[in-house]
Amino acid sequence: MDNRIKSLFEQKPQGLLSVYFTAGYPNLEDTVPIILELEKNGVDLIEVGMPFSDPLADGPTIQQSSDIALRNGMTIPKLFEQLKDIRQQTQIPLVLMGYLNPVMQYGVERFCQKAQEVGIDGIILPDLPLSDYVREYKQMFEQHNLSKIFLVTPQTPEKRIREIDSHTNGFVYMVSSASTTGSTNGKAVANTDYFQRVRQMELRNPSLIGFGIHDNDTFSQACQHAKGAIIGSAFIKALAQEGSLQENIESFIQRIRN
């Protein structure tokens, strides 16, 4: 079966820009307009965040956007409702990213079915451990043609990176440094040893670098070490600026690309 993530990496081997935003932020009905605007501005892949009350791996920016999105009324059923016609409007690869508990309550199988139905290509659930995924859910995800994307960090041993690589398809999400999202500790792209180590492993899957990527400089550096990079918190901050969604998105993407 075709998967838009796979096709993307085949068609465009370098300089990919993936953008994360929290569904339901800044306003409940912004989900589809943000997706379409990002595509229009040449973004390659979009991660749609499913807000959670207790986002352990996230820094203050995404915590706050999640709180606001939840207050706005965002839920998983609401998100699927918003996305039901998205494939009539765009073919950009779409990944849903969130925490395990809301997905468990929705029902993992039902979630996979619905995701496939609206045309989602991949899923990231940072707190679903690899071992549980392989034991309980892998078959379900594959059956619904969903790439389950896993994170690796500078502390992940080679053996585990290979294990992750063998159980996933789509891409490997390289966390740039040990941190929660949106960290501005300046170490975002300093870990060149780690990036090279992973590159030399010649994994089955391509990799993207995320966490701490926030401007043209960090984006370009990340692109030297992987197929591209993922931006989240910096984009959420840009959405909070004065001005329309269109203006904010256009100027942000231009700043990153140039």
Binding site: F52, S53, Q105, V152, R160, S179
Partner: protein, 395 residues
């Protein structure tokens, strides 16, 4: 039925390690080493000396004569309130700080609700000359001011958790985020039987000293090491885990876990997880969890900061589901009455948390000859301003 943890870190269907990849190396390191370290002779020797000479163990098992007369049964209080720092929490922090040293960690982080775990952590860090950072909800900082002062006095940095309900759950989130950001040199001393495997099992083992002592103390006093009831309050559940531990496989001992009903289970202001929760994942563990239909964690409420938690340790979730333990819940008002009752009958001012266990004495239906042990997990010093207010003893 097996009540201890299995090789994969589960109690029945509860437990596990639902953590982001960033925490995997740390949790894995601990999982591989904790039993080996805990069972090593030099560790045990150091731990036993500290428990005896520093913590002040064994804690007394006190026959509460006037309380027994009131409830027409034989009530013993396990005096964890007499531990150094005033609660059972230090049993665990003494153990974990030795664990951190064995693993070569230099920086200690912790979360705290009532502040007892924070104080117990700050205390052992002072003792071992380790840097200590304690995360505490903003709301709890206000209602447990004496413990905040103690932590500062001990040289710890107290960082307010300002997200969510600004209580224990949020302090735990912040501690976990700190650990993600400091993966090399930092050890996270979790204060309860919660979190990813192996924490629930490790903390239960460190607290198991409570029931270990209860057994020989009861044997001395009653001729039988087994009581009819063991009663303990449950927030995350560490004092209950310790009080139940050596009785888990003795079915004739009834285990009573007492949760905080807050303003009442149906009021929307409660922390009675076994009644209000369903299966979910919080802080790295699959357990019973108070949550909305959409899987968002509900903000709990209790007058007691130590019980104000939307989940419960996976061991307790399993004890609930398997019906091995009886779960009761007690409102703020009932707990306050129990505080006054123990204070005036026995001259012991209990912590608000422990008062929930005491208040359940009227519920369990103990017979005149039954032996009931209540785990008096902490003393009430930290709650005095609440007590003075509520009992109108000011001025």
């Amino acid at each position: 039925m097996k009540y201890s943890v299995d090789e994969n870190g589960f109690y029945g269907k509860f437990g596990g390690a639902y953590i982001p990849e960033m925490l995997h190396p740390n949790v894995e390191e601990l999982r591989e080493n904790y039993l080996k370290i805990m069972q090593s002779p030099d560790f045990q020797e150091e731990l036993q000396v500290l428990l005896k000479d520093y913590v002040g163990r064994p804690t007394p098992l006190y026959f509460a004569k006037r309380l027994s007369a009131k409830y027409n049964t034989q009530i013993y209080l396990k005096r964890e309130d007499l531990n150094h720092t005033g609660a059972h929490k230090i049993n665990n922090t003494v153990g974990q700080v030795l664990m951190a040293q064995r693993l070569g960690k230099k920086r200690i982080i912790a979360e705290t609700g009532a502040g007892q775990h924070g104080v117990a952590t700050a205390t052992v860090c002072a003792l071992m000359n380790l840097e200590c950072i304690v995360y505490m909800g903003e709301v709890d900082i206000l209602r447990q001011a004496p413990n905040v002062a103690r932590m500062k006095m001990l040289g710890a940095t107290v960082v307010p958790a300002t997200s969510g309900s600004r209580t224990l759950k949020d302090a735990t989130n912040e501690a976990i985020r700190d650990w993600i950001n400091n993966p090399e040199d930092t050890y996270y001393i979790i204060g309860s039987v919660v979190g990813p495997h192996p924490y629930p099992d490790m903390v239960a083992r460190f607290q198991a000293i409570i029931s270990e002592e209860m057994k020989w103390q009861l044997k001395e006093k009653t001729g039988n090491e087994n009581p009819n009831y063991v009663v303990a309050c449950v927030g995350g559940g560490s004092n209950a885990a310790g009080a139940f531990y050596h009785y888990l496989d003795t079915p004739e001992v009834k285990l009573v876990a007492v949760e905080a009903a807050g303003m009442g289970v149906e009021s929307g202001e409660s922390a009675a997880t076994s009644v209000l929760g369903k299966e979910g994942v919080i802080h790295g563990s699959r357990t019973l969890l108070m949550q909305t239909e959409d899987g968002q964690v509900t903000e709990p409420y209790s007058i007691s900061a130590g019980l104000d938690y939307p989940g419960v340790g996976p061991m307790h979730a399993h004890l609930f589901e398997s019906k091995r333990a009886i779960f009761e819940n007690i409102t703020d008002e009932e707990a306050l009455q129990a505080v006054l009752e123990l204070t005036r009958l026995e001259g012991i001012i209990p912590a608000l948390e422990s008062a929930h266990a005491l208040a359940a004495l009227s519920r369990i239906g103990a017979k005149p000859d039954d032996v009931v042990v209540v785990n008096l997990s902490g003393r009430g010093d930290k709650d005095l301003s609440t007590y003075l207010d509520r009992f109108q003893l000011n001025g």
